[in-house]
Symmetry: C2
């Protein structure tokens, strides 16, 4: 049997070769960043690493409680890390998880 006798399935433009817990984790990260406010928070953290919640409250057009809620979603999805410093909480991008995200997205797309 030569190669030509095999059914030709056109190669896809991506593999999406992922499953189980890794797929769940990736979908959770997609969902978390798939919100305009949260994407803006991520952008702000790139240019203002270590900023505190109050900085984001000043920057964003929404209430403090809502900012805190969005930060929680990003934290639980693994995008960011919060460090309590006195009465404030300092936020940074979670480099390890972002690297994991990048590796996986590049691999499956």
């Amino acid at each position: 049997m030569t190669e030509n006798t095999l059914q030709r399935i056109p190669e896809a433009c991506c593999t999406l070769d992922i499953s189980g817990a890794e797929q769940e984790r990736l979908v959770t990260m997609f969902k978390a960043i798939g919100n305009p406010i949260r994407f803006e928070i991520m952008k702000y953290l790139v240019t203002h690493p270590g900023c505190i919640t109050a900085d984001l409250v000043d920057y964003l057009p929404i209430a403090q409680a809502t900012v805190s809620q969005h930060l929680k979603v990003l934290r639980q999805a693994g995008w960011i890390e919060g460090t309590v410093e006195g009465t404030a909480t300092s936020y940074c991008l979670h480099e390890g998880n972002i690297a994991w995200f990048r590796r996986n997205v590049i691999e499956i797309f």
Copy 2:
């Protein structure tokens, strides 16, 4: 002024250097794929290019109307294309938009 006199800002693990309509488009794509059912639809389309809605209805554990709704979200986000063929509609990944997504994600992450 030497380099050492400059304020050292630690380089971020990603740039997220995107804005305006492109940012909106990317966030919409993130949101659409950030759903377990829709991610499964995308995976199915990789291995079953050109399949029809009925195939997905058989494959997924949800009603036909719901599948159709998810397909609409993926279509409107640009992930997939539908082609009417007789009474059926054949679906494929939207290669151009997926390539755009890949380019942008690689660029900003």
